[in-house]
Amino acid sequence: MSETHIEIGDIHWLMDILQNIDVGLVVLDREYNIHVWNGFMESHSAISPQKAKGQNLFKLFEEIPEAWFRQKSEPVFQLKTRTFTIWEQRPYLFRFKNSRPITGRTALMFQNTSIIPLESLDRQVNHICVIIYDVTDIAVSRADVKNANKTLTDIQSKDPLTGLWNRAGWEPQLVQQFNECQAAGNECSLVTFDLDNFRTYNGHYGHQQGDQVLSNIGKLLEKAVGLRLSARLGGEVFGLLLPGQNGEQAKAMAEKLRRAVLLLNSGNADDNIPKITASFGVASLAKDTHSAHEWLQCADKALYHAKESGRNQTTLYQHRPN
């Protein structure tokens, strides 16, 4: 230990610094009784040092989980090393209000803490010091970045009109279903469909009403299979995955959707304008389907067949018998 000569006046202003520094300082003994309680702690807790001193930490602050805190502080006593807690583990140790009560965007203060050993003259660690840092701003901007990233991902992978996946967002789901079902040998079917006469419809009733039809189809799909498995693949082409369903079951589902699409025409007065209908292609997952891409091609071939055969109908892709 280096010998430092400290005047009584120096101690006075050192104490002043500890009192006014903008981090919380708490000294605890082996029994977790409070020995030091600086100005930061006093201001935020509204408990004066006189009142805090000698009190047990866990009795005074019931929000601190005793077992959890002991787990962090025992190594400090035993190993004489520092330990740390970060706000990602537990947002705060002491339940303090945000230090910017008006413009701060969270109600409570996020805290990081360091727990450091305090050696006595005989080199034993009988006391520890808990340092509390206010990291609310860091936590808030982390959350902002996370939200911004989520928004960007959504813009990239979601269709804003229908709320369904776009092609880029859906393809990973398709590949995942393909891989999982092929590996487990589970049934799964894929449906693609295309609206018939959509261009004529749009031309007659206007784009706004056309968009309304697309948006209604989105709602239909959301209700039938959920947002996770359905997509607007482009223009007026849609796709959906039906895990657990074989070809016949998927065809029945496609027929149900086809009839539901017909109902979207109710209220359109002009009989000279062709109705909105849809043609469906269904492909079950066969053992010899080699890739998700090939699977999608099967469904597209079936869809093409349905179009060629007069539209407003469903075709089930016939796999070659083994």
Partner: protein, 204 residues
């Protein structure tokens, strides 16, 4: 700037090795008492590490979900560096047993375990080394890598002006449980010169 091709001579390397050995001996004893488990006394390796080696080590932590990494900066007497703790094939269930943690192993619980274990392992080692060199290292708050950002982004950030530097590698294993991890103490290039001065003083 002096070229870094001769960072260490043989004597210095041996000295670092010995220094870490002693530090680890002390740490292992304390760790065993704290964790109530026998810590296999690791033999530290003193190495010159290339920047690209580090990239690979960190990248594993991101691409392989079985690998987790925690880093923590330390500084004292103008000697600065970062401790990097890499958990390979460590089972969280075993970590939980070691830390006597009971409760479901959620992602949150895993973070908790990583933080606790790294606080102890990194602290024990830097404290031991610092004590012998009479340096008091101040540690920053630990950061779990890859939690909030892509590791690629960290590596791309351009803060990698060094090509090769001193690394002390410690491979921890704990008996009877499936816990293996590597602790890397990396020193900045300018710190190595200062460290060598301290070491030369010990060697004389």
């Amino acid at each position: 700037m002096s070229a870094a091709h001769e960072i260490l001579n043989e004597d210095q390397r041996d000295c670092y090795q010995e220094l870490t050995n002693v530090a680890m001996g002390q740490a292992a004893d304390r760790l065993a008492r704290l964790l109530d488990a026998y810590v296999v006394l690791p033999i530290p390796r003193v190495n010159i590490i290339e920047c690209s080696d580090l990239h690979m080590a960190i990248q594993d932590a991101e691409t392989d979900s079985a690998v987790s990494a925690v880093c923590q900066g330390f500084i004292g007497s103008g000697i600065a560096g970062e401790a990097l703790l890499l958990f390979n094939d460590t089972s969280f269930a075993d970590l939980a047993k070691l830390m006597s943690y009971t409760g479901p192993l959620t992602r949150q619980a895993e973070l908790e375990l990583l933080m606790d274990v790294s606080s102890i392992l990194i602290g024990a080692c830097t404290h031991g080394i610092g004590e012998q060199l009479e340096i008091h290292f101040t540690q920053g708050h630990p950061v779990v890598l890859g939690q909030h950002c892509k590791v690629d982004d960290i590596l791309k950030s351009g803060n990698q002006q060094w090509q090769r530097t001193l690394a002390i590698e410690i491979h921890y294993t704990i008996e009877h449980v499936n816990i293996e991890c590597d602790l890397l103490l990396l020193f900045t290039e300018d710190s190595v010169a200062r460290l060598n001065q301290k070491i030369d003083f010990l060697l004389d």
